[in-house]
């Protein structure tokens, strides 16, 4: 056991950047959002306006309930809006870091090198748990201090500490849970997948119980984050649950670890089909098969986002009266006009997100190219044109489905409006952005075809466009700057009249870009 400090040092050395980046990203997210929320909603009146928008089943299912609706202080607002979301991020962080140090190391054969040395079987696991426990404690301390230094009324040290330690408790819980899964499952991919699936189940369970029977939410460990009711009742008991549960997981992990052979697990990896189905044997079929998890995940996200934005419409009138900031963002104060203005704004945001989704699906082709997966495929009579063409059809088709899912979400979410919008109105507000979406996608395809090394340029462009479109009205950005966004050229339906001129221009540009994209993709060297 006297090699433990060597191993700990080695692991810390190896992971220092990974830890630093997560540490900074997670603490800065909490601290900056707390500051931003306080600036956006400084008075009780404005925050009560927010409560009106957030206190509906759709929102509660998504971001969680709050005990502080009656007295919605800055702290209560912060914990309500951020706790569950941040807890999920902490859980994902814990799952990724833990898998990397357990199953992934084992899969890569690094563990075998270590085990060949005079160290105890359990030592690598102990080192992993020590590191991550230290990491989450440090993270909680930094977040507590950061939040306290903001000096926001209603956010005192004790509450900040409870908030930060609840999150770190969730981190620890998922760390220990992942170590258990890493003993059971034999691959790193499987470990991450199973852990994320459990996280999903916990999220959905608490979503359903929060709106039907709140008492049952406690069954989901993920709910223990917001059940501490930081800044409202400050209940420390759920932290005790988190610690007990983590200890149990640690015990199970060590027990299983001692019982199994290296490289083995208790659950044999699922085997699949011996042969490819008719569907999979089609070129379009296998391309779709490799993408469908990503497509479904994006689809669910768009439906949920649409529904949550949609539910905001129900409270729109009251919401606008009370929120000066949003009034400023939408300069036309009539009930229907306001709704339409908001719809146009959502349309622009969702259009950018759809673009991101489509491009992400297309760019996977480059990953397949760089990792060499395509070599074997392209040594067959499969042309690059067909490969890229089919990828565009799948990604573009998925993009259309995403727009329709967003529309469906918005439509279903906004049923309680005084004058509900029709499906067609909403659909038009989404589809009007299609020319800009296609143009951005064509640009991305050209990058993939001609300059794959510079393909991330499109992400920077989209980030800039997002800021310009999102804050354009709010910050009164100059006209020339707003013209950087391709989306700005299109009429904001249903607020403005249809204008075919920019639509046809963007389509024409897209066709040209795509033409060059295909020509260069066919001619260039494959990585």
């Amino acid at each position: 056991m006297n090699n433990w400090h060597l191993l700990l040092r080695l692991q810390l050395q190896r992971n220092k950047w990974r830890y630093t980046i997560w540490l900074v990203a997670l603490s800065v997210t909490s601290i900056s959002v707390a500051a931003a929320l306080y600036q956006l909603f400084p008075t009780m009146q404005e925050r009560n306006g927010l409560v009106a928008a957030l206190k509906n089943p759709a929102m509660i299912a998504m971001i969680g309930p709050s005990q502080g609706f009656e007295h919605y202080t800055s702290g209560a607002m912060f914990a309500h809006e951020m706790m569950l979301f941040t807890a999920i991020i902490y859980a994902i962080c814990a799952i990724l870091l833990t898998t990397n140090q357990t199953r992934e190391e084992e899969e890569d054969g690094q563990l075998e090198l270590l085990r060949a040395r005079p160290i105890a079987t359990s030592l690598p696991l102990i080192i992993t748990l020590c590191q991550l426990t230290l990491f989450f404690i440090l993270l909680a301390i930094i977040t507590t201090l950061g939040l306290t230094f903001l000096h926001i009324p209603s956010m005192d040290v004790a509450s900040n500490a409870l908030y930060s330690f609840s999150l770190s408790g969730i981190g620890l819980l998922f760390t220990t849970l992942t170590t258990v899964i890493a003993q059971l499952v034999t691959t790193a991919r499987g470990t991450v997948g199973s852990a994320l699936a459990l996280l999903g189940v916990m999220y959905v369970w608490r979503g359903i119980t929060d709106i039907s029977n709140e008492k049952l939410s406690i069954v989901s460990p993920l709910a223990w984050s917001y059940l501490t009711n930081s800044y409202v009742t400050n209940t420390w008991l759920p932290i005790v649950y988190l610690l007990i549960c983590s200890s149990v997981f640690i015990g199970i992990a060590f027990w299983l670890n001692a019982k199994r052979d290296i490289g083995e697990g208790f659950i044999r990896p699922r085997t699949g089909h011996k042969n490819a189905s008719y569907f999979l044997r089609q070129s379009l079929g296998w391309q779709l098969r490799l993408q469908y998890v990503a497509i479904i995940s994006w689809g669910v996200a768009f439906l949920l986002l649409g529904a949550s934005y949609g539910s905001v419409f129900n409270e729109l009138d009251r919401f606008f009266e009370k929120n000066k900031l949003l009034q400023q963002m939408l300069a036309t104060p009539s009930a229907e006009q306001l709704a339409y203005h908001f719809l146009a704004m959502i349309g622009a945001i969702m259009a950018i997100l759809t673009t991101v989704a489509i491009i992400q699906l297309i760019f996977r082709l480059h990953k397949d190219e760089v990792t060499g997966r395509l070599d074997l495929w392209l040594s067959r009579p499969l042309s690059r044109m067909q490969l890229l063409g089919e990828r565009l059809v799948i990604s573009g088709g998925s993009g259309m489905i995403f727009l329709i899912l967003t529309t469906t979400g918005l439509f279903l979410g906004s049923r309680n409006m005084a004058n509900p919008m029709t499906f067609t109105t909403i659909l038009k507000s989404q589809l009007i952005h299609l020319p800009a979406i296609i143009c951005c996608v064509a640009l991305a395809t050209l990058l993939l075809g001609a300059l794959p090394r510079f393909k991330s340029v499109i992400w920077y462009y989209l980030i800039i466009v997002f800021f310009i479109d999102y804050f354009g009205d709010l910050l009164q950005l100059p006209e020339w700057l707003r013209h950087i966004s391709l989306f700005y050229y299109l009429p904001a339906l249903p607020l403005e009249k249809m204008n075919w001129y920019p639509v046809s221009l963007l389509f024409f540009a897209s066709v040209l870009l795509l033409l060059f994209a295909f020509l260069s993709y066919r001619r260039r060297d494959f990585a």
């Binding site: 990896p269 042969n275 397949d368 070599d375 040594s379 001619r523």
Partner: protein, 295 residues
Amino acid sequence: MPIIEIANLSKKFGSFTALHNVNLTVNQGEVVGFIGPNGAGKSTTIRILLGLLRPSSGSVRIFNKDAFTQAIPIHKKMAYVPGDVTLWPNLTGGQVIDILLQMNGPIPTQRRDELITLFQLDPTKKCQTYSKGNRQKIALIAALATEADLYIFDEPTSGLDPLMERVFQQCVKELQHHKKTILLSSHILSEVERLCDKIAIIKDGTIIETGSLQTMQHVTRALYTVDVQKPLDDLYQQAGVFDIQQDGLRYTFYVDNSAIPHVMTYLAMHHIVSITSMPLTLEDLFMAHYEKGGD
């Protein structure tokens, strides 16, 4: 009839010259071994043959068609096994084999199943759980089950155990018997020696030697072991003698084939107890070439 014709092929990546004036012809029914150290340009040449990379200059023709612009018709009659097989993690081995085979027309199910049994592959496992050797088997089964005229193997046995290596060699012999054309890049010299009619040696992006093993032996050297009664003090001064190792009264040294008559005359004048000569192995050939240019 030439199947592969590479003429004055050069390939540059930026300012780096990966291939310089490569010439290689592979005729119908030939099994050509393609050997060279890492980074010599073997894989670059093969990737150009596959139409994945574009030649900077020179011409590359397969079945008398341009390898880059007419890749699709070429690939209909070609099969390939990469040295490092990477696959999508969430498909099974069996599914990958089927998808690859389907691209070349109807799946020869019987041949496929035979090969799966021969290589002892479990096709129901997901690709993420296969070892390097098993991933290689997948590529081999898909290639060998394909009814092609040209087979290109890029270090195909680097992850296989000796037993599977022998299965592979058996399959290549079978293809050879059916007058198929094969380009086999390899590090395993005994394998190339056993299977190939012709050898091309590539080094630093240039083919430094092509020809049959027999023709190459004429231009190179062989290893001699001689036991003598008295020390051979002036052996060092003889022309065409290299790498002399002395162990008591036993000498081991290389002799250039061109210098054999002269060295034999010299040895005959001394009291020789025994003399053995080793037939040239590809290994020696390989080494001889690297030593010559190894500055």
